[in-house]
């Protein structure tokens, strides 16, 4: 029986490894100087892979990915942490029992539903409210992405806040601090590593998120810094173009390079986030003992 479990465990590990190997193998043909020059240094930076003269600059797409990620995090981080602080420090226990599952339920909403919502409803609201020229822009896409990130920030931050030993709070109250002072100046700093880790993990999710941005971002590869332009992300480009690409061509290699880039970034950010959390857990347990 234990044998079966360990086989299952190893299968997962082998899969991850094989996926990495496969992605890397398809990327290998473009890991050379001329291809990298075409991806990163081409002037003007344009992504037009099916043009008569293919243009494969990834600059506008990387920029688009970062714009959506930044807007998403700017929305999700404060909201997620504030919600976590509220539910762990201020909410009456009964309310907390409602808030937590409801926010975690948000994580279960398929991203295609979120994308559809942003495409049809959110974009119209935002345009009516702010008079944006483009309905589908970085703000619309980033906000929709932010909704998907809130549960990640919330759940991990909340776990971190709850793990802060009671003795910290009691010591703070004993010194005459109010609840707000205790929450902001004692509990939050003590849980800072978890909060930070939640940001890192949310970043990893944001970089790789596909469907929301494919639907709500407008998919125009524009090299600009304004948040009012449409954007196109790495993941959305892979999803939209992999279907018809000529296998083995430069365009194919470029898409796989994007995949590898995403893989490496999310791998690093997720590992780092997990490491911070584990580090903090062991320290908290040590502190409480």
């Amino acid at each position: 029986m234990t044998g079966a479990f360990s086989v299952a465990g190893w299968v997962a590990i082998v899969f991850i490894f094989l996926i990495f190997l496969f992605t890397f193998r398809e990327t290998a043909p473009v890991l050379n100087l001329p291809a990298m020059k075409a991806f990163f240094l081409a002037r003007p930076p344009v992504w037009q892979p099916t043009s008569d003269i293919p243009k494969l600059s990834m600059i506008p797409i990387i920029l688009g990915t970062l714009k959506a990620t930044v807007v998403g995090l700017l929305f999700a981080c404060p909201v997620g942490v504030a919600a976590a602080l509220f539910s762990s420090e201020f909410a009456p226990p009964k309310l907390r029992e409602v808030i937590k599952p409801v926010i975690e339920l948000l994580a279960g909403i398929p991203s295609v539903v979120m994308g559809f919502f942003a495409l049809i409803i959110l974009a119209t609201w935002l345009q009516d409210a702010f008079g944006f020229v483009y309905r589908l822009n970085a703000i619309n896409a980033g906000l929709a992405l932010g909704f998907a990130l809130v549960p990640i920030v919330y759940t991990i931050s909340e776990d971190g806040l709850a793990a802060v030993p009671r003795s910290y709070r009691e010591a703070s109250y004993a010194l005459g601090a109010s609840r707000l002072q205790t929450a902001m100046k004692v509990v939050l700093p003590a849980a800072a590593p978890a909060v930070f880790a939640s940001f890192v993990l949310a970043f990893g999710r944001a970089i790789g998120e596909t469907m929301i941005l494919l639907m709500a971002g407008g998919n125009a590869a524009i090299t600009s810094l304004t948040l009012l332009d449409p954007l196109r992300t790495l993941s959305a480009t892979i999803a939209a173009e992999m279907g018809e690409v000529v296998v083995g061509g430069e365009h194919y290699g470029a898409l796989f390079f994007m995949g590898t880039l995403l893989f490496v970034i999310t791998f690093i950010s997720n590992s780092f986030g997990q490491w911070v959390i584990r580090n903090m857990q062991s320290r908290m347990q040590g502190g409480a003992a």
Binding site: K55, E104, I120, N219, A240
Partner: protein, 290 residues
Amino acid sequence: MKQITRGVFTIVIVALVACGGGERREGAVTPAPAAPGKPLTIKGSDTMVILVQRLAEEYMKGHAGDLVQVTGGGSGTGIAAFINGTTDLAMASRPMKDDEKQKAAAARGAEVVERPVALDSLAVFVHEANPVAQLTLAQIRDIFQGKATNWKQVGGGDAPIVLYGRESSSGTYDYFREHVLNKEDFSPRVQTLQGTAAIINAISKDKNGIGYGGIAYAKDVKPIAIAAAGAAPVAPSEATVADGTYPLSRKLFFYHAANAPERVTKFVQWSLTPEAQALVSKVGYFPLPK
């Protein structure tokens, strides 16, 4: 408990993502068609999906027991699937290229048969409230290449032009690039949406929007009259498409292998009958001229 809940969510998400992924690229995993009695699979142009689905429904009514499955994905996707042997019949809104025909012939062991099934006029759409009612081909080219960025440059009000288009796997994209842009590149500001229906939807909500697509999809948007070089503007209609005065009309094709099983040829032949061609105009396309 917390861990379990999170685990369950993760499983749900993974499952949903897996389903979502499978849905979009299902053509790639469909087993190769073989023995008769199997459903006829048709894949390709998103422009043709609504037409061929109607044809298939009508066909199945008259031929009990025959099953026809129609999926979109784009002309390029359909042709690729045809070459790979994962679909019986490819539908394409652009003619197959010579190298594609050779590849298909080599893979299928028989020549490729091309059957035009209907005419489509590629319309350029704007918001219903847009005062612009006609444009020359050159103006449309300037707009989609980003040389004209304000409606007042082409006779409209003072407002920025917002561009909508299709992704590069689309036959409509190819056709437009070839016949309107003279094979030059689109402006990077074109927002690429998945399917003509999405473009129509976006333009119906965007008073500064402009986009292109099959005329049959036009709903709550205004198709504009187009003037070829040195000619008067012509609005898309059955008459102007049939007599060739409307500058942007094209044939819609079926492609199958010459050695295709009977279920394929039977459907293709039926689609050229007057009964089926009447359906073509009902859906909003134009029947082949007699």
